[in-house]
């Protein structure tokens, strides 16, 4: 029924034959609320509505035949372009390329690691999946079970440190001639200095081709700060938005893209290895705006 709001709004817009500036003001108030209901960050929603106002009060639009249609289109188009209009590929140059998965606790990193493993395996890249979580009970076993289920090479955690775990896996990858290495790291808070420092250390030492921030689609307002912190301290090259098979609108995607510029490279759409989808900006814009 949140979806109903935006379609109602567009319906209201479409019935008008002429939009005054005052109309645009009240419409944008509604648009802002719909974005907030979709978990778009307050500041991002505000800026977005300002951008729309500038475009919508243009002479051309207000006097056009169906200004409501034009404004509705401006909103979806603007959001689509903000979400990134080009298909974003994984950077896989490197011998072997290393992809590091990072993010908050429980966001879906280990599951996504297995999904990317199958994805790369199907591309003929023979990946090695490396368990680097020394803290969570049965974290290494979780990845190991997934690897045996999907026929993927597995490098167990080295309980002395995440760094040692990475080292072990790179040695193993060289020995077994793996075409890529996926690092599954422990969940951590963006404000945990020590744990963020661990990622910085891994990045500086092993220079991964990709650092993917794995984020739960139901993340609320704080997605902005989370993405900004990870990007400023560690640097991220892409985002994976998980649990998109639920009914969360996923406004976090817009906030994170706005603050980091990092593209959403994949969507998690379920718990199985095959539940990894491409990111379609237009489709996401429709989901966010309902």
């Amino acid at each position: 029924n949140l979806t109903k709001n935006f379609s109602d709004l567009f319906l209201k817009l479409r019935r008008k034959s002429y939009l005054t500036e005052k109309d645009v003001d009240s419409i944008l108030r509604d648009v802002r609320n719909v974005l907030l209901e979709a978990d778009v960050n307050y500041k991002v929603a505000k800026n977005f509505c300002e951008e729309i106002r500038v475009k919508a009060v243009g002479e051309k639009v207000l006097k056009s035949l169906s200004p409501g249609d034009v404004v509705a289109k401006i909103i979806v188009d603007e959001m689509t372009s903000l979400l990134g209009s080009l298909k974003q590929e994984l950077k896989l140059a490197g011998t072997p390329p290393v992809i590091m998965l990072v993010g908050l606790q429980g966001s879906g990193k280990t599951t996504t690691c297995a999904k990317l493993g199958v994805f790369l395996k199907n591309k003929g890249m023979n990946p090695l999946l490396s368990a680097c979580d020394v803290k969570r009970p049965a974290a290494s076993e979780q990845l190991e079970v997934l690897c045996s289920k999907y026929g993927l090479h597995f490098s167990p955690v080295n309980i002395s440190s995440a760094l040692k775990s990475v080292e072990d896996s790179l040695l193993s990858a060289r020995k077994n001639m793996n075409g890529a290495v996926l690092l599954d790291t422990a969940g951590r808070l963006h404000v945990d200095e020590e744990m963020i420092g661990e990622l910085v250390e891994i990045k500086e030492k092993f220079k991964p081709q990709e650092v993917l921030l794995v984020v739960d689609a139901m993340t609320g307002q704080e997605a902005l700060q989370i993405a900004e912190s990870f990007n400023q301290r560690v640097g991220i090259s892409g985002i994976v938005l998980t649990k998109m098979d639920g009914d969360a609108r996923g406004g976090a995607a817009l906030s994170m893209k706005a603050v980091t510029g990092a593209p959403v490279k994949f969507l998690g759409t379920g718990e199985r290895a095959e539940d990894l989808s491409e990111f379609y900006p237009h489709r996401m814009a429709q989901r966010i705006t309902g």
Partner: protein, 269 residues
């Protein structure tokens, strides 16, 4: 002043930002702003905070006594059910209760092992099935063991499931049937475990989970992050489900009973 009460537009805007970024939603934020605008500037914090506390003070449904007392954790994937089950087990065990766990997540990779490791660390008894087994069967076995081993509390840790997946939600009904067969009062408590970073989707989760089990409380996890946990307000206020515990870290002691005044104060910081 005047039609906008005693606050400047800028003050209203910054109050609005603070309230909305707490994840409480724009409707509740607007309600609180209207209150703020009718008050003297030095009374605003107090009046908003007391309004929030009022919304959070929901009488806990006093669960009937039973031996063993059965508590079940439910919720969407990755919110902290297994970790919270362990923490709750420790809390009750420290209070002298004889606790036993049911590792009813027979689905997720290493789901059973994760709780087994916790149980071993905490010195708490555990009944587990095997991966791929039937979770209702694990619950049945755990109930039997709880009785025969004379335990006071059985804590059932279930698999994560999205509320939008009907077949997974139906599994909860199956577990409920097994429990009710043993004792119509079971489960004494069903706690929905929610992540403090969740936004507006929290309401949808609570609504649908409450259609499949009678929720008696919320465990709000990862409150040690920067999210204010405002997503719980509409759930507590409209559905009358109280927040019972806060998860404030990844260790067994990072668990505290919910304090509405402290929570409301922290939100407004």
């Amino acid at each position: 002043a005047g039609s906008r009460g005693k606050l400047s537009d800028e003050e209203i805007s910054s109050l609005e930002e603070a309230l909305i970024t707490s994840d409480m939603g724009h409707e509740l934020a607007l309600e609180l702003i209207k209150i703020a605008m009718s008050k003297d500037p030095d009374k605003i914090y107090e009046s908003i905070r007391s309004e929030l506390v009022k919304k959070l003070e929901v009488p806990a449904k006093t669960a009937p006594k039973a031996i063993p007392y059965v508590i079940m954790t439910v919720g969407v994937n990755g919110t902290g059910k297994t970790t919270s089950s362990a923490k709750l087990g420790k809390l009750l065990s420290d209070r002298g209760r004889k606790v036993i766990f049911a590792a009813a997540d027979t689905y997720r990779a290493a789901g059973v092992l994760q709780l087994q490791i916790w149980a071993e660390k905490l010195g708490i008894d555990i009944v587990s099935g095997y991966e791929g087994g039937d979770s209702a069967a694990v619950v049945h076995d755990a109930l039997e063991a709880a009785v025969s081993r004379e335990k006071d509390v059985l804590i059932i840790d279930t698999a994560g499931r999205l509320h939008t997946k009907v077949n997974l939600m139906n599994e909860l009904l199956k577990i409920d049937k097994v429990l009710k067969k043993k004792n119509p009062l079971y489960p004494n408590e069903t706690l929905i475990v929610m992540d403090a970073t969740t936004g507006q989707n929290a309401v949808s989760q609570a609504k649908i989970f409450s259609e499949f089990s009678s929720l008696t409380g919320i465990i709000l996890t990862k409150y040690d992050g920067t999210s204010k946990g405002g997503c719980i307000f509409p759930i507590v206020e409209k559905m009358k489900i109280p927040v019972k515990y806060l998860g404030i870290g990844e260790s067994e002691d990072d668990f505290e009973e919910f304090d509405p005044l402290k929570f409301a104060g922290a939100l407004l910081k």
